[in-house]
C-alpha cells in the first residue's frame, strides 16, 4: 500500500506546506482519508496528495553549491560605499 504525502494550503496569503503523510490503498481512498487525518478543523482550504514514490528528489549537494553564488545576489555594500564617497566629494 502506498504512502502519500499531504500538502495543505491554509486560508490566506501562505502557500502549500507539508502536513505529514498517510497510508491508503489507492488515490481515491487517500483523498477520503486525508480529510480526517489532517483537516479536522479547517487546517487547509486546499489539499494536495502525492504518492511518495512519485516525488522527484534532488541531491542536497547539488543544491548546496547554489548558496555560494555571490554574484547572483547583492547586499548593497558597494552601493553604500559609492554613495558615501559621492557625499564626501560633494561636501569638499
Amino acid at each position: 500500500m502506498p504512502t502519500y504525502e499531504v500538502f495543505l494550503k491554509p486560508d490566506g496569503k501562505d502557500g502549500f506546506f507539508h502536513a505529514g503523510s498517510l497510508d491508503a490503498p489507492d488515490d481515491e481512498m487517500a483523498a477520503l482519508y486525508c480529510r480526517e487525518t489532517y483537516i479536522r478543523r479547517g487546517e487547509g482550504v486546499q489539499a494536495w496528495l502525492v504518492a511518495r514514490q512519485h516525488i522527484v528528489t534532488l541531491d542536497p549537494k547539488e543544491l548546496e553549491v547554489t548558496a555560494h553564488r555571490q554574484h547572483a545576489s547583492n547586499d548593497g555594500s558597494v552601493v553604500a560605499q559609492r554613495r558615501r564617497a559621492r557625499r564626501q566629494a560633494g561636501t569638499e
Binding site: 500500500m1 504512502t3 505529514g20 503523510s21 498517510l22 497510508d23 490503498p25 481512498m29 480526517e36 487525518t37 479536522r40 542536497p60
Partner: protein, 301 residues
C-alpha cells in the same frame, strides 16, 4: 543525506542546534532512542483514545458527547501522525509496531494501565493527564533535534490545548456542582494523583541519551515540579485536597514540595502488568485480529 564521521561530530552538530532529518545517516543509537520514544508516545495516544472510548457513549448530553468524541478522535489522530513519523525511521513498520503493542511487547504510558471508574476519573485524565502530557510535550517541542517529530508536535500540542481547556471546563462543572459531584471528583483525584506523579517518570539519570541528543530538554524531576507548582494551587483553589500527606510549602522559596514517591506501581505498568493493562491490550488485540481480513483485502500493511 548528511553523514557524520564520528560520534563527536554528531554530538557537536546537536549541541550547535542542528536538526536531524529522516534521510540523514544518523548514528544508529540515536535512531533507536528517537524511535523508541516516538513509538511509546504513539502507543500511549492510541491506548489513551481507547480508554476514553468507554466514556463517549456515557457522556452526559449531546454536547459533551460530541466534544468527547472529537477529543478521542484527536488522540487516535495523534497516534496516526506519530506512527507515520516513527515508521519513517525504518526501525519497525507501522504493522510491526501495532503487532508488538497487541502482543504486550511494547510500552505505553503508565496512566493508561488503569481503569477509569467514574466520569470524574475521565475528567482527571482529560485535565490533569493531558496537562501532564502537555508539560512534557512542550518541553520536547521547544528544541527537539529530530525534525519530523518536532513538526508534528506543534499540531499535537495545539490540539492538547483544546483538550485541557475542555477538561478544565468539565472539572469546574463538578467543582461548582452538587456535593455528590464534588465527592466524585475528590475520589478520582485520590486514585489518580500518584499515577500522575509517576507519569513524568523516575528521576532522570546522568548521561541520559534523550537529553544528550536534545530529544528531551528537561529532566523528569524538573517537569514534574513544573506541573506540581501549577496544579497544586489550582486544585486547592477549586476546593479539592491533593492526596499527599507530606505535601507542604517551603517557607523560604514558597514552592510546593511533594512527599517521597513510591515507584512500585510505576514499575508494574512498565512491565505491562498494571491494574488494567491486560484488559486494554486484549480489547485492542481482539478487534485488530478480527479485522485482519480487511487489511489483507485492501493491502494495508
Amino acid at each position: 543525506m548528511r553523514v557524520w564521521e564520528t560520534m563527536e561530530d554528531f554530538d557537536q552538530f546537536i549541541v550547535n542546534g542542528g536538526t536531524v532529518e529522516p534521510g540523514d545517516d544518523m548514528p544508529s543509537a540515536y535512531r533507536q532512542e528517537v524511535f523508541r520514544f516516538i513509538e511509546m508516545h504513539a502507543n500511549s495516544e492510541l491506548f489513551g483514545g481507547l480508554c476514553e472510548r468507554y466514556w463517549v457513549s456515557r457522556a452526559p448530553g449531546v454536547h459533551r458527547k460530541l466534544a468527547f468524541l472529537a477529543k478521542t478522535q484527536d488522540e487516535i489522530g495523534h497516534a496516526h501522525l506519530l506512527y507515520m513519523v516513527a515508521a519513517d525511521l525504518a526501525v519497525k513498520s507501522r504493522a510491526q509496531m501495532i503487532d508488538d503493542l497487541m502482543a504486550g511487547r511494547s510500552k505505553f504510558h503508565n496512566v493508561f494501565h488503569y481503569k477509569t471508574h467514574t466520569w470524574a476519573d475521565q475528567i482527571v485524565i482529560a485535565y490533569l493527564v493531558d496537562a501532564a502530557a502537555l508539560t512534557t510535550q512542550q518541553a520536547v517541542l521547544k528544541q527537539c533535534s529530530y525534525g519530523p517529530y518536532r513538526r508534528i508536535l506543534r499540531r499535537i500540542v495545539s490540539e492538547e490545548g483544546f483538550h485541557m481547556r475542555h477538561g478544565e471546563e468539565m472539572l469546574l462543572t463538578l467543582a461548582d456542582g452538587t456535593v455528590t459531584q464534588q465527592n466524585m471528583f475528590q475520589a478520582a483525584l485520590d486514585r489518580w494523583w500518584e499515577p500522575v506523579m509517576h507519569f513524568f517518570g523516575p528521576p532522570t539519570k546522568d548521561g541520559d541519551l534523550l537529553i544528550r541528543w536534545r530529544v528531551k530538554s528537561d529532566t523528569n524531576e524538573a517537569l514534574r515540579d513544573r506541573f506540581v507548582q501549577k496544579f497544586v494551587p489550582m486544585l486547592q483553589e477549586y476546593g479539592f485536597v491533593v492526596p499527599d500527606p507530606a505535601l507542604h510549602r517551603n517557607a523560604s522559596t514558597g514552592k510546593w514540595v511533594i512527599g517521597d514517591i513510591d515507584w512500585a506501581a510505576l514499575r508494574a505498568t512498565q512491565s505491562n502488568v498494571g491494574p488494567d493493562s491486560a484488559a486494554r491490550i486484549e480489547l485492542s488485540k481482539q478487534s485488530w485480529d478480527n479485522t485482519a481480513w480487511v487489511r489483507e483485502a485492501l493491502h494495508v500493511p
